[in-house]
């Protein structure tokens, strides 16, 4: 599949966090969800952020995805400091450069599989024909050919998550952020989804960053970043 932004040179570090902290105020208590975290994610990584609940995995994904802002430190996406961007620019970055896969799929219930996958392309203003070609190619790639007219409530959890993955990668984003993508599916479906994402990473070069405490995800990740109390516990790169 040809990338949408093929004229841009690839960035060695797709994501860079520099001394990032995120502190939440919960009543009178300050919760330090991320604590002076620095790390880089490289192009083509298949990387898992893991750690126990409350270790800051989801917060890190939210910061990288521009859904949240750090209390201190800087988050770079393709060398662009997200802190320098206004709300509209960040929304555009999310639309064009980031793909999201959520634990609960989060498909738009009134739309079919096709329309959910097409949604972001439409937001980008892509021509009708291009949208159709790309969406059909992606749905076939994620194994949903023939199910494109089904709505979320007519599909299994695994099928819905495949649609979510299709929606995330259809725009050829710089990075796909997947928050516990296998948490709501059975083992066989989880394996199948991981096979899919691994293949997309290997064949199409899609960069994946997971947050997960699923052992299957950790086993397949080529890079395993362990978080503990918002800090970097370990960063293991596998051959």
């Amino acid at each position: 599949m040809k990338p949408l932004n093929a004229n841009e040179p690839p960035h060695e570090h797709i994501v860079r966090l520099e001394d990032v902290s995120k502190i939440y105020q919960q009543g009178k208590i300050q919760v330090r969800a991320v604590d002076n975290l620095s790390l880089d994610i490289d192009t083509g990584d298949f990387c898992a952020l893991c750690g126990p609940s409350g270790s800051g995995k989801t917060t890190v994904l939210n910061l990288i995805g521009g859904l949240d802002v750090p209390t201190q430190g800087k988050v770079f996406l393709e060398n662009q400091d997200l802190g320098d961007l206004n709300g509209a620019e960040i929304a555009r970055i999310r639309r064009d450069r980031i793909g999201f896969v959520f634990q609960a799929y989060n498909l738009i219930p009134v739309m079919t599989a096709y329309e959910n996958a097409e949604f972001v392309l439409k937001l980008q203003g892509r021509p009708e024909r291009e949208c159709r070609d790309r969406v059909m190619a992606i749905l076939t790639e994620v194994g949903l050919a023939g199910l494109e007219h089904r709505r979320p409530d007519e599909m299994s959890g695994g099928q819905q998550q495949r649609v979510a993955i299709a929606r995330a990668i259809v725009t050829q984003p710089a990075v796909v952020l997947a928050d516990e993508p296998t948490a709501n599916v059975d083992s066989a479906t989880a394996d199948s989804l991981l096979d899919l994402m691994q293949r997309l990473n290997r064949e199409d070069g899609v960069t994946f960053l997971f947050s997960s405490h699923d052992q299957r995800v950790m086993d397949r990740a080529r890079r395993l970043i362990r978080l503990r109390d918002g800090r970097l516990g370990s960063d293991e790169v596998r051959p």
Binding site: L67, D68, A88, R92, F102, P109, V110, F119, V120, Q124
Partner: protein, 406 residues
């Protein structure tokens, strides 16, 4: 998928709520179309009774007559002036006025004698068609008269009864004669109802010894859509020696009240639609709150705040459009029914008056473009205002909070 089809699907998602919201708006719209049509009917009837039954569009008097309606203060060249006005394309008639005492049996009352130019009066006013009983004046029956509704009651006369008139003629002699009631008018206005005593002009001239001239020339534009101001100016040019006034100048209070028709209907619309606004606000707020999570996801994947606002507005407009169709489907036939049959208030009141103008006790609606368009437009405006808060609420949702909102 474009915003419209997305919004249509969202509206169909919770069809029970959509049905309730749309029905409430549609019902309010239907009632307001009926109300506006009834008010149009009231205002039209008021103007008709004021203008088409008596005043006309424009009146000419000799200077000083209106301040002191003296029998001797006349428009001397009335015939010539009426001809000039008619040649200018206007409908014109001359009238004669006097005062006298009417007596029938043991009853008596002061009356305003009105000498009518039979041929021309029918081109200017519709009073000849506004009879409750009997028939209008006829040249072949010089002693046949038509009287106002309350006057007939005061004199206790009915069609065919005799009435004696006593007055003072222009030559100083006692003017008196015996007349027979040919017809009794429906309500026109307080003045005519209470004292109107209509006779043909030759009979008036004979009674009052008034061979020529007239006290008033009444003019009507041939087209209601023609400018009243322009017609008044044209008449002033043709009658420079006389006092020329439009009906708005002659009855400024009535003109002001009728001029407030739009404001009156708009005010009623606003009051009624406040309740509709609450329904819309409630429905759309519920709709937004139960989709906060979904909106958060949409924003996370690139849906902008403006697009979310547009989506919420489109969903509202779809419901208002459906409500408008319901309002039209219900309101038009209902208003049409009351336009044909009216609401008969005669069982509750003996006479109805509005702004000093007597009205027929059967209150008829009058369906106009304004009476239909105003309630529908107001429905859109009110719903558009009511949905501002839910739309803004949706637009400012922070995706990071909304995604994890349950």
């Amino acid at each position: 998928m474009n915003i419209l089809s997305f919004a249509i699907r969202n509206v169909k998602r919770n069809w029970h709520r959509t049905l309730v919201t749309t029905s409430a708006m549609g019902f309010a719209g239907m009632i307001m179309i009926l109300y506006a049509s009834l008010m149009e009917g009231l205002f039209q009837a008021s103007e008709r009774n004021a203008v088409a039954m008596d005043l006309g569009d424009i009146q000419i008097h000799a200077h000083g007559y209106r301040r002191d309606p003296d029998l001797y203060t006349r428009i001397a060249d009335a015939n010539h002036l009426v001809q000039s006005l008619q040649q200018a394309g206007l409908h014109a008639t001359q009238r004669l006025y006097g005062f006298g005492l009417a007596a029938a049996g043991s009853s008596s009352a002061g009356v305003q004698l009105r000498g009518i130019d039979l041929k021309n009066e029918t081109t200017v006013t519709q009073i000849h068609r506004h009879l409750m009983q009997g028939r209008w004046l006829d040249r072949s029956d010089p002693h046949g008269v038509v009287v106002g509704r309350k006057l007939a009651r005061t004199l206790n006369v009915k069609v065919g009864d005799e009435v004696v008139i006593v007055s003072q003629a222009t030559d100083g002699s006692m003017a008196n004669d015996l007349y027979r009631v040919r017809g009794i008018l429906k309500s026109v206005g307080e003045e005519i109802d209470r004292a109107g005593f209509f006779m043909i002009a030759p009979a008036f001239r004979e009674l009052m010894v008034l061979p020529e001239g007239a006290h008033e020339i009444t003019i009507m534009r041939p087209e209601r859509s023609a400018s009243l101001e322009a017609a008044t100016t044209a008449v002033k040019t043709l009658a420079p020696r006389y006092e020329v006034m439009s009906w708005r100048e002659l009855r400024p209070l009535i003109a002001a009240i009728l001029g407030l028709a739009d404001t009156h209907i708009l005010f009623a619309l606003l009051v009624t639609y406040v309740a509709v606004a609450m329904v819309v606000l409630n429905a759309m707020l519920m709709s937004v709150f139960e989709r906060i999570h979904e909106f958060g996801v949409m924003k996370a994947i690139g849906f902008g705040p403006g697009q979310l606002t547009l989506l919420v507005y489109t969903e509202t407009l779809i419901q208002v459009a459906a409500a408008s169709v319901l309002a039209l489907l219900g309101g038009l036939p209902l208003s049409g029914f009351f336009e044909r049959h009216g609401i008969d208030l005669s069982a509750f009141v003996s006479s109805v008056s509005f702004a000093g103008i007597a009205l027929d006790p059967v209150w008829q609606a009058y369906v106009t473009r304004r009476s239909v368009v105003m309630p529908i437009v107001a429905l859109f405006v009110i719903a558009g205002i009511a949905v501002i808060y839910p739309a803004v609420k949706a637009a400012v949702i922070r995706p990071v909070k909304a995604i994890y909102y349950r």
